[in-house]
Symmetry: C2
Subunit: 533 residues, 2 copies
């Protein structure tokens, strides 16, 4: 029946528990047409506690077998999911556009990224470097004590709970980055669908479930649940069979999950991506050289996806002067011309309106420009400004506004700019706009920036997160709950792995990847040095 | 003055704050002769809140400069520390023996291990692989969108608080594994000395401080504090300038630090190694073949260092039968012959006596043997037994007894053995004793064992932790607070690193390790593939 869902593109409103479609008995939730606020058919049954328990039991049951599947088998599985998602065709795109209000080309691009992520991890699996295989051979004649034979590999951490994100209905939801990296690591996954796009979630869930079945894997490798009751989501994180959590969303939501995870008998890691205002630093030379050109590029980045990106440029830092004045004039003009763009949900729209109204009413904040209004749930872009002194005096001005709003902080001099940056919380990105004459000032800032963010970029904006090997989409708290990792790119697989060491074991008990003679021809370290395959 | 301490081997009782000796003004504590319980001279001044604050400020101040020192400079610094520790000669050994009651050859061996660890990390630095350098070059002509230039490296996480361990006065204390890996990563370190060996701590602290000065590093790279008041240790973990914590000790102590770290405005990782009973599985074939030979080896491992090892074999699992009876007879004989051995502190001795008395009085536990008594604070070894059914019914039987005590769990059959293992909490190690005929039974157990422990070994016991590249000294909670890492071996450096990505930055702003042309000749991944230096 997972198969039927896949090929027909029909949406049943059922849960997918370990390969079986099943009506959720814990209340009903519905998708909403983002442009009109009208409820979409069908209703989705929320999971009951017993249904959640069944999903956890199946994931646990599948874990040992799944984590020992061959690298090629797991790679082919990920590729099969990618193929299935593309095969869903317009049925997926249409539903996703309806549920999110995002433009069709954006959703098509996100679908390509989602497939690309799955294929990237297939490549990571075939490469095998992520296993971090190490062998320190025995030295029976070492004095004063002989040395034992030690071999190490990474293994999967256990079943992972993934919380779909509102703003990336494909690339950070059911088959998104967290799911792809966890499945690649060898972890069964239980996804809690985001209530903003349940139909999209069911279609993609069906694509995964079909791949599980077609690849001969245990059904418990994947389950998809809807939760009408917040207690179900909390129970998922608290379940002792869940060993890690991936989450993208609000700071309050992430903190709540972190608390549950810490209070378990066995605390587990939560990888929560929470809030970031992504400072943009406009250096004096760059402003002198091209203030008028930076402004429209900024407005375009600000308004992309109605500003609903975790890497949205929410803060502009610059030193007062004619260059900044020119930029502000041009930016105000560009922002004022921005059309209203539909937001993901009525709730997100309401929160955006509250936050911008609060900034507009703030005694130390000036409104430089508002964009055009639009449909009922459209985001009206906003550009505000304040001074460094006031920014430092009012910590709430650092709070993320989810949507196309940005705050300019005018600094008196470079010392004041440093102080503002030092006062910032952890961020996903910082963007530098530089001329040749700014290099020395930027160089002095680098240590401070490295301490504050996960990615430092020049000449652009943080939006547009390349999926590759050198990407870090992460950053110090509260940008994420764990700045030691990334949620985008091949490095993300390490979030779901832990090392195990084998000492003096007979070959028959060692994993094949660590056998003498390297039968799987994988990269290994021999006494800490790279050994030929 | 750090220099004077080093070369004279005299002990002043002073704190070492960023290279300066300074009398602690927060109360006085004293070392104790472990064999007599008599207080040793001199008194050590505990740090005040202001002195702690000065250490944190200096560490923060030193951080940016220290983390950007060259790999060779940092490697030479670690080697310099190792040399200084050896140069302390008998002054260090004598004081350490007095404070811990551990035999002189053990302390000498531990000193060699401590120097070896520092040198291992010097090698890790020169190799450079830990930086995980990655470059995904720009593809300006890619369709539909050009690809940006992305480069990644690991940077140090920030100043680290290290809590010295009672049972490894050298290898897991002031210049122990946590300090060595944190310094290697580029993190300044503040050590809170364990109150059981303050004199040893001061001598080793002086060795580090002299190396900091000799290598031209900022003084804040290292501070050593004594804490008479527990609130000072807590304030160290709570200080916003501290970004990670290394701890080896009791479960209660580790949990308390985890709680403080989680409740900070910015939560930070705590790497706490807490408790483990290190199951030993005696398979039937092995017992049939050599029960009598395993028994004395077990007794030797049990009593090494008076059993005060985190890898001490505290639990024996085997299937009932004549083989097990033979083992128990021989083991009881070997344990009964064990001499009393001095314990680290009167407090540890008292806790050991309470725990063994409680086991002896347990209605479902039989005492198979007690070792010989000894001096006032000597550990009297103990061997207990119970059945699988009773072990499963009484969770407290899983609690670690710190000292030379072990509990045999007699299992009716292989199913019962599985159930006992499944009920165990996370462990550092499991030891398998096997004959050829046991391989198949052991193979079936492997997935379960991998889920429970950090290191699986055959034919020996967990004591004796080899310091190398393939070692994992860690394991699922509560063996450690974070099973994704190790506290021993080269992999430990990753606990104190986080990745940063650089996008489209001009060469002048990139760290040299990521410059075009690879001027530092370091290992790098190009588009995810190993590139030649």
């Amino acid at each position: 029946m997972a198969d039927t869902t896949l090929h027909s593109g029909t949406i049943s409103g059922d849960l997918l528990i370990a390969g079986h479609a099943e009506r959720g008995t814990g209340g009903v939730l519905r998708g909403v047409d983002a442009s009109s606020g009208a409820a979409l058919e069908p209703g989705f049954g929320g999971a009951s506690k017993a249904q959640l328990d069944a999903a956890c039991a199946a994931a646990w049951e599948a874990f040992d077998a799944y984590r020992e599947t061959g690298l090629e088998q797991r790679a082919a599985f990920l590729e099969h999911i990618a193929g299935n998602i593309l095969e869903l065709g317009d049925a997926l795109i249409d539903r996703c556009v309806a549920e999110t209000g995002l433009p069709r080309p954006r959703i098509e691009g996100e679908r390509a990224r989602t497939a690309g992520q799955l294929r990237l991890f297939a490549g990571v699996l075939r490469d095998g470097g992520f296993l971090d295989l190490r062998i320190d051979p025995a030295q029976p004649d070492r004095k004063p004590l002989p040395r034992v034979d030690l071999r190490l590999r990474n293994i999967a951490i256990g079943p992972v709970a993934v919380f779909g994100a509102s703003n990336f209905p494909l690339a950070f939801s059911v088959a998104g980055g967290d799911t792809a990296s966890a499945l690649a690591a060898g972890c069964p996954v239980i996804v809690k669908a985001h209530e903003a796009h349940p139909g999209t979630s069911e279609l993609v869930g069906g694509a995964i479930a079909e791949a599980v079945s077609a690849c001969g894997l245990p059904g418990g490798v994947f389950s998809l649940i809807f939760a009408e009751d917040r207690a179900i989501a909390q129970a998922l994180v608290a379940d002792p069979r869940i060993k890690a959590v991936g989450f993208t969303g609000s700071r309050a939501g992430g903190l709540a999950l972190m608390k549950i995870a810490q209070e378990r008998h066995e605390p587990i890691p939560v990888y929560a991506e929470m809030s970031s205002i992504n400072p943009v630093i406009l250096f004096e030379g760059a402003l002198a050289e091209r203030a008028a050109a930076i402004a429209p590029a900024f407005a375009a980045a600000l308004s992309m996806g109605a500003g609903q990106f975790c890497t949205n440029p929410g803060l502009i830092l610059a030193i007062d002067g004619p260059g900044l004045d020119r930029f502000l004039g041009a930016a105000a003009e560009a922002v004022a011309a921005l059309p209203g763009a539909g937001m993901l949900t009525p709730g997100i729209h309401a929160a955006y309106d509250r936050a911008t109204a609060s900034l507009a009413a703030h005694s130390q904040v000036a409104t430089l420009a508002r964009g055009k209004t639009g449909g009922t749930y459209a985001c009206q872009a906003a550009l505000f400004s304040t001074t460094a002194v006031d920014f430092l005096a009012h910590r709430t001005l650092q709070e993320e506004v989810f949507g196309a709003a940005s705050l300019v902080v005018r600094c008196a001099d470079i010392g004041s700019l440093h102080k503002v940056i030092e006062a910032l919380e952890g961020q996903l990105t910082v963007s530098l706009h530089l001329a040749e004459s700014d290099i020395e000032n930027a160089r002095l800032l680098m240590p401070l920036l490295e301490r504050k963010v996960g990615r430092i970029l020049a000449g652009g904006f943080g939006t547009g997160v390349e999926v590759g090997h050198a990407m870090v989409h992460g950053g110090p708290y509260p940008a994420t709950s764990d700045g030691r990792s990334t949620s985008v790119g091949s490095l993300a697989i390490h979030r779901f792995l832990r090392p195990v060491s084998y000492q003096d074991l007979p070959q028959a008990l060692l994993p094949e990847a660590l056998h003498d003679g390297n039968p799987l021809a994988l990269p290994r370290l021999l006494d800490g040095k790279a050994a030929a395959g």
